[in-house]
């Protein structure tokens, strides 16, 4: 039919015309502009406003940054160089303060010859995380995960190598107690022994053991005081320590909150709500001013340790809520299946529920860590020198008194880079986990 039609109608073209370029408004930059920037009057106005905002920001900050002076000994030196090159009153940043003091903003007052130690500790920590995050790595790497915390602590604070070793022995004591005593005194007695024996060991034996070994064979690295920690190092140490320590506590609290046992549930709920209901800065001030009231007379902790304890308690309440979300997200069938298999509560949790719930919670945990990392800036108010505190200290030396924006810019950029990349990583994890679930 169509054939006959084609032949009978002489005006039907039988040769293809050469392709014509699309209209100018439909290709390339112009099309993109039309579609993306000027799709309608409202859209156009928004575009123009946005472009103006960007222009304004660039005009006001651009010259200041571009004129930045990187080489000077102090603020007056900076001003002299500026007056010489650009003339008086021309905006010019004095980044020389960063070249002079960047190491303090990052490491605090950690001895500069030992900077490799925190860096190595961070790498070790990452290495310890790897087998947990990437399940297809060989299982042998779990040894790394287990030993990373003690090694990191040893690297950061230094001292005798025998101390972390004798602490680690405590875990073996517990394991051995569990393994060899269970057949003798039953599983309950075994568990109690596995908890009590290491504690007794740590209380009574670990110290003298480490001391003795140190006397026999002195092995160790230079010890560093907590007060030397500062800047981003401090934020990282407090944040990471709090997250790692708060995980077990958070899991217990989350399980407690889901429990059927009234007293356990109530006390967990009260703990979580009280911690979450009060701002971190009040908790930090509590750690600074009140912790000594609550401990036996004469006990006196390092301030940093007190802060880590307080931030751990704080983080555990948030982690508990994250994990509770993970527990709630599991289909009920999982719980029922575990019951059907005849598993008791702890076995069910350990083998079926928690592995899945924790996996779902990882992005939430990472987000909690980002929040915590940012919140560590509050330790400024109790006299610890985090990056903002170091900035204040730098500004109170005669050399750099009066400098302002450059330090804050640096700190802001550092925080942005670290938090943004962690945030992206948590998004990636979230997507990956979602894929695995379908």
């Amino acid at each position: 039919m169509s054939d006959t039609h084609a032949h009978s109608a002489s005006y039907v073209r039988d040769k293809m015309l050469p392709e014509q370029a699309p209209p100018v408004t439909q290709v390339g930059a112009i099309k993109w502009l039309r579609e993306n920037l000027f799709a309608g009057p409202l859209n156009s106005i928004l575009t123009l406003i946005s472009i103006y905002i960007v222009y304004w920001v660039v005009i006001h900050i651009g010259p200041w940054i571009m004129n930045g002076i990187w080489e000077a000994d102090n603020l007056n030196g900076c001003r002299a160089i500026r007056n010489e090159i650009y003339g008086e009153g021309v905006p010019a940043a004095c980044f020389a303060v960063l070249t002079d003091r960047w190491h303090q903003l990052v490491f605090g007052y950690y001895p500069s010859a030992l900077y490799w130690r925190p860096i190595l500790a961070l790498l070790l920590f990452g290495g310890g995380l790897a087998p947990i995050l990437f399940p297809n790595l060989p299982r042998r790497l779990y040894i790394l995960s287990a030993s990373a915390p003690l090694l990191c602590i040893w690297l950061l604070w230094g001292g005798s190598i025998w101390m972390p070793i004798s602490v680690a022995v405590g875990f073996f004591v517990g394991y051995a107690a569990f393994k060899y005593l269970t057949p003798v005194v039953g599983s309950l007695g075994g568990t109690i022994a596995a908890v009590l024996l290491p504690i007794l060991y740590w209380l009574l034996l670990a110290g003298p053991l480490a001391g003795g070994l140190q006397d026999v064979l002195p092995l160790g690295i230079q010890a560093v005081q907590s007060r030397a920690f500062g800047g981003f190092l401090l934020a990282l140490v407090i944040g990471l320590a709090a997250i790692v320590l708060s995980l077990p506590l958070g899991i217990l609290l989350a399980l407690g909150r889901q429990s059927d046992l009234f007293i356990i549930k109530t006390s967990c709920v009260i703990f979580i709500e009280v911690i979450r209901g009060v701002p971190l800065i009040v908790w930090l001030l509590t750690a600074q001013t009140l912790l000594n009231y609550f401990l036996p007379p004469g006990t006196n902790f390092d301030l940093m340790l007190r802060v880590i304890i307080m931030v751990t308690l704080f983080a555990s309440a948030y982690i508990a809520e994250v994990i509770r979300g993970g527990l709630a997200a599991l289909p009920k069938g999982q719980y029922e299946a575990a019951d059907a298999l005849g598993l008791d509560y702890w076995k069910a949790m350990q083998l079926i529920i928690l592995p899945q719930a924790l996996k779902i919670s990882i992005p939430g945990i990472v987000n909690t860590f980002i929040g915590l990392f940012k919140d560590t800036t509050l330790v400024l108010f109790i006299g610890l020198l985090d990056s903002l505190g170091v900035a204040n200290a730098i500004r109170s030396t005669t050399d750099w008194n009066g400098i302002y924006w450059e330090l804050f810019l640096f700190i802001g950029v550092m925080f942005f880079i670290s938090c943004f990349s962690m945030g992206r990583y948590s998004l990636y994890l979230e997507k990956k986990l979602q894929r695995e679930h379908r």
């Binding site: 575009t47 946005s50 356990i264 009040v282 509050l378 400024l380 903002l388 925080f415």
Partner: protein
């Protein structure tokens, strides 16, 4: 025989407390309770020991001693001869004020940014992404300090408004002054105030005015009565609509009810607008929104707004496209689709995290310390503790205040959640 039909009751053995699931839960709870009580006893005992050792006691008497320090922003009357308790109350009101203002603007900002982030406009989209990521990934403390510093550096000083060759002038017909010490806006006062406060002329040769709680209560009362009347009018319109199918036009009645009574009260009281003017070192009269308040307010709003933007975006994306399409298939208009189908579902996703953001904002307002805003942490938890040395009592009171506030807000959240929960099997 009877022994067969009536088996002996198993004797209770002590080991059942551990191995029998019926009793085990009780055992665990009793042990837990004992441990908790022991821990509490230990803490309280230590505290008492330490207090005794330091020669201190535990009492709240200091709250009635004269505070001795001044507070710049006070919503209730206060001077340095009043008590520490009064100072704490001034701080509490300041905390509530900035938290409330912050929640309102953070929501507005967050909704706008969240919607714009879904915009197809490339520039707007990217700008919003920069805003959201920039604020989410940098500590709030840093933002507060930066915004405060930017405001003091970029705004004019009051002295630039002075003299013949003033470089700055007031805005909106000499009514608003924007300076680096804050913003002065006009205030409302009454020539025939019923508050009993002494009438004072704001400027020389002007009509004396006064204002007080009684005036505002009267106005609020009249407004409330108007709103109730408007409700009656609406109900009546509803009834007529149900009976006849036609809805009578009532908007002018409603508008009249809203405006006229309050207007009459205003006229009777002799409403006057008192504008700020330059006097001495600063502006006088009007309402002074201090820089510390504004900086904290802006920083809290922008920071929380960035989080709310993500919540709003997620909420809108969470409503599946099928819902919109189904609504269109039913013949609903786009606006009604939004109102009746998309929003109710999106709100269910948005509201709970939104309220927990409000909670965060309220707690974050304690960072006021960075800009010298006199909130409850700065008065009760700061200067008062520092001058009296009563850190235990002060911190407990401070914690109790924040806890109560949080519980009220999360109580509201739970109430909303149970109301809007999907009714499932």
């Amino acid at each position: 025989m009877s022994t067969l039909t009536d088996p002996p009751k198993p004797a209770f053995r002590l080991s059942q407390l551990i191995y029998d699931t019926r009793y085990r839960s009780i055992t665990i709870q009793v042990v837990a309770l004992i441990l908790i009580l022991a821990a509490l006893y230990w803490l309280v005992n230590n505290t008492l020991d330490n207090l005794a050792r330091l020669g201190k006691d535990f009492n709240y008497g200091f709250l009635s001693n004269p505070a001795g320090y001044d507070i710049n922003q006070r919503l209730i009357e206060y001077n340095n001869q009043m008590s520490h308790g009064r100072a704490a109350l001034v701080g509490i009101l300041n905390t509530l004020l900035v938290a409330f203002l912050g929640c309102v603007t953070a929501t507005v900002l967050g909704v706008i940014a969240g919607v714009l982030r879904l915009s197809k406009n490339w520039v707007v989209n990217k700008l919003m992404a920069v805003y959201v990521e920039g604020f989410r990934n940098v500590p709030l403390l840093l933002w507060i300090i930066l915004i405060f510093a930017i405001m003091t550096e970029s705004m004019p000083q009051p002295r630039e408004f002075r003299g013949e060759e003033a470089t700055q002038s007031m805005l909106l017909g000499d009514n608003v002054a924007i300076t680096n010490r804050g913003i002065w806006i006009p205030r409302l006062a009454f020539t025939n105030s019923i508050s009993g406060n002494e009438a004072v002329a704001p400027v020389e040769d002007a009509v004396p005015v006064a204002s007080g709680a009684a005036d505002w209560l009267l106005i609020l009362g009249v407004l409330a009565a108007s709103l109730i009347a408007i409700r009656f009018v609406r109900r009546r319109a509803d009834r007529i609509q149900e009976a006849t199918g036609d809805r009578p036009k009532t908007w002018y009645i409603q508008l009249g009810l809203l405006i006229v009574p309050v207007g009459i009260v205003f006229v009777i009281l002799g409403l006057t607008i008192v504008s700020p003017y330059l006097r001495g070192f600063n502006f006088a009269e009007g309402i002074h929104l201090r820089n510390s308040l504004i900086a904290l307010w802006i920083a809290l709003s922008l920071y929380t707004g960035a989080f709310i933007a993500e919540i709003v975006r997620a909420g809108i994306l969470a409503v599946s496209k099928g819902q919109t399409e189904a609504a269109f298939a039913l013949g609903l208009q786009p606006a009604r689709t939004m109102n009746l189908v998309v929003l109710p579902q999106a709100m269910r996703v948005i509201i709970p995290p939104l309220i927990s953001q409000f909670l965060n904002l309220t707690k974050n307002s304690s960072l006021a310390i960075a800009v010298g805003y006199m909130d409850v942490r700065a008065t009760l938890g700061g200067i008062t503790i520092n001058q009296t040395g009563r850190e235990l009592e002060g911190m407990l009171l401070l914690g109790a205040f924040y806890l109560t506030l949080s519980l009220i807000i999360s109580g509201a959240m739970n109430f909303y959640n149970t109301r809007t929960q999907l009714k499932e099997r």
